[in-house]
Amino acid sequence: MSTVLTPSSAAPERTGRVRRAGPMLITGLILLALLVLVAVLAPALLGDEARTLSDRRLLGPTADHPLGTDELGRDLFARALVATRTTLLLTVAATAISVVAGVVLGLLVWLMPQRIRDLVLTANAVAVAFPGLVLALVVAAVLGPGAMSATVAVGIAGIPSFVRLTANMAAPIMVRDYVSTARLLGVPRPIVLGRHVLPNLGGPLLVLSANSFAVTLTELSGLSFIGLGVQNPEYDFGRLLADGLPHVYVQPAQIVGPSVMLVLAGAAAMFIGDGLAARSDPRLRSLVRGRRTGVLRPARSAATHEPDRDPADSALSVRDLRVTTAAGRELVAGVSFDVGPGEIVGLVGESGSGKSLTAMSAAGLVPDGVAATAGRVTAAGHDLLGPVSPGDLARDVALVYQDPISTFNPALTLESQLTEVPRVHLGVHRRRAREALAESFRELRISSPDTRGRQHPHELSGGMLQRAMIAAALLTEAKLIIADEPTTALDVTVQAEVLRRFVAAKDTLGAGMLFISHDLAVVEALCDRTLVMRGGQVVEELTRDQLARREVTHPYTRSLLAATRYLEPTEETHP
């Protein structure tokens, strides 16, 4: 349902944008075009010069020979350019072997029964872990040194990683509902692969092919360089480099030609790959410069808001809160409210209403990608628009989030996470904090409270985790609890009990609570006051009694109420 908006999920801003080629992609394409041009023209124009022997041997750079000559007096500049054709042709051939065979095999495994597929993929994983160059050496050993065998060797050596990548990328698509639906509709498996899986792999595969071209170029030239690839009198970049290296003490310019060409060709492929990847990555596309995001600042017109009530009396006091994206779109447009001590205030709205952003900003936790301003934000007595001690804030404001599984760090135990605030900010000793946590667990009726803390999040149910989260609030005696859809991910039979524990914890602490929900029925049963949000604004504020008596005026609240009633078990029974 509703989560905190990040720029990448703010779809409307993106749809208008045309996919533009970034500077990297353009540079890569230009380089590639130049290289292709050289590969086509150089052998015809410079072929003779590159072949002609002369007695001007091992020269340094001169006007005639910009890169000097080799030990047989041949022009090195011409040789470096002429070698482009051989190098590119062989690299393209080897890359094609890896990509085509890898993609076909990687898709074919999905036509196999699961047992055989697992076996093939395990065997393939071993092959991937095996150094590609060594695999190429095996093939070269079998076929003997030579351009042909080196190309086949490098091509084959690249297959396992493409099988793995294709199979891995296809895996999440194979479990997508549209694939199983297509199967149910009677579409044969090979057609499913071609119609649904392959098109969705197209973009990533193009990126990977470009990267693979760079790797293949390196490996293929490497084989030539160590003497197993292109053999004299033929030459590619690797061969030229190997020929030049022994003379490097006498003439360092010997290695310049092939080195520069190799790097240019490799960089062209890398740039194209990265450029394509960046183009399809929405996070990088919505890049807007110049604005700092993830911060809460005082509004410029802050002075106009006279303090109508001493903010120190309330658990949370917010005036004129505005949240805007980096691109300038307003997601929360001037929201003001108070939460008194011991009071539960509900914030209700549908997805995109800005309710989660409001809650997070009120806690001073503005997400990256948006920036917030406000006339006043006072949480648990701390003015968030001025300098605040992080320790005090962490102690006094407790937060509970929507998805219990993802809000816990999977790599750490419960207690090391939940006792973090007392240990880090309040200087409580580890053992003491652990005991206090067990005590809170007991208070929240969590079973086996003494050993619970040593478990990892994945060992606990969602309801248990949400109760553990509220235990952290008890631990620090928080004055404000902000709960963002804390029961949405839970089973209904668990929901009521978890909410009861929340209320009990709030009563124990005498804390104020801001409760965000999409469910008007839950809010009605729980909250003292309810704010209805839509399109970044509070459209209506209702007391508990008003909501119970259905005394609502705003048409949106009415329609929300009607929808909620429709989804209640019985229409006639309601006290």
Binding site: M24, V126, A129, F130, L133, A141, S161, G266, A394
Partner: protein, 320 residues
């Protein structure tokens, strides 16, 4: 399963190791038999007489039935006997024993340098560019790593030689005579892996930093450094280590090539020469040793991974 995941996990890793080594043994054995045409003729050379070819065939046991040959090969392996070099008559194990330390030392030093540098670099860049901050750093990192990745090991090596050994004359260009001789080869083989691994770390870190639990950690207001060190790094290690096995395996390939550049007397040089000279016993032995090293490296990484991230322990492996 729930009670003791470790024995189950280690048993599975042991099984994988045995299977991979078995596959390697079969593969290396098959090298000679996959040669198109008559292997004995290829080995003896084009000019050899048919008597010479027959002699080669007998000497290499190629006249025996395939099954017998394979059994001989395996029983030899079990006794620690990899056969003898066809060209020099030297036992293959001796060749490997004298050359392995050189290759192993640059590979291990390279791996250590790569891991340390790329973790620090990747995390720092991810943190600094989080939420579209410092877009210049984002693109600079992209351009620089792309160019470094386009630099083959042997080109880096050649450039380093020209700069440090030829122009400035501060470091030796070749040989393994002193500690200083390690610096250039290590730099050469680590540059590419550092670029690709710091990219990987940076990408994974960007994902981890956007997770819900990082928001939870932010709510505890621990300060950025503590927040990253305690909450991001453990989750980063798992995904990074999983893929680093592949990058580090690639480094073994780099070590082979770099030996040619720096005239380094390691296994890489030996295997290349053996292939050119069609000295199959030597090729077989060296490829087997390098392969076992790569498989071992990956299994070690899997085990470290399981120790770092308990979820992997249960799943057996993080990725297919």
């Amino acid at each position: 399963m729930r009670a003791r995941p470790w024995p189950v996990f280690l048993a599975r890793k042991a099984r994988e190791f045995v299977l991979a080594v078995a596959a390697l043994v079969v593969l290396t054995f098959a090298i000679v038999h996959l040669i198109p045409g008559d292997p004995a003729r290829v080995i003896a050379g084009v000019d050899a007489s048919s008597e010479q070819v027959d002699a080669v065939r007998t000497q290499l046991g190629l006249d025996l039935p395939l099954g017998t040959q394979f059994l001989d090969h395996v029983s030899g392996l079990l006794r620690g006997d990899l056969g003898e070099s066809y060209r020099t008559g030297q036992p293959v194990t001796d060749v490997i024993a004298t050359r392995l330390p050189f290759t192993l030392s640059i590979a291990l030093v390279g791996i250590a340098v790569t891991l340390v540098v790329s973790l620090a670099l990747g995390l720092a860049v991810a943190g600094l560019t989080r939420g579209n901050r410092n877009p210049w750093l984002d693109s600079a990192f992209g351009w620089v790593t792309a160019i470094v990745l386009a630099l083959p090991v042997y080109v880096v090596g050649a450039i380093l030689i020209v700069l440090f050994a030829v122009t400035w004359r501060v470091l030796p260009a070749g040989g393994a005579s002193s500690a200083a001789a390690y610096i250039l080869p290590t730099l050469a083989i680590a540059s590419g892996p550092i670029a690709s691994m710091s990219r990987l770390v940076r990408r994974e870190a960007a994902v981890v930093l956007e997770q819900d639990f990082m928001r939870t950690a932010r709510g505890r207001r621990l300060g950025r450094v503590r927040e990253y060190a305690r909450h991001a790094v453990p989750n980063l290690l798992a995904s990074t280590l999983t893929l680093s096995g592949l990058i580090l395996a690639g480094m073994i390939g780099g070590a082979i090539v770099v030996e040619t550049v720096f005239a380094w007397p390691g296994l890489g040089r030996a295997v290349v020469e053996s292939i050119i000279e069609r000295d199959y016993a030597l090729t077989r032995g060296i490829i087997l040793v390098i392969g076992v090293a790569a498989v071992t490296l990956n299994i070690v990484i899997d085990i470290v991974l399981a120790a770092v991230d308990p979820r992997t322990l249960r799943a057996g492996r993080a990725l297919v």
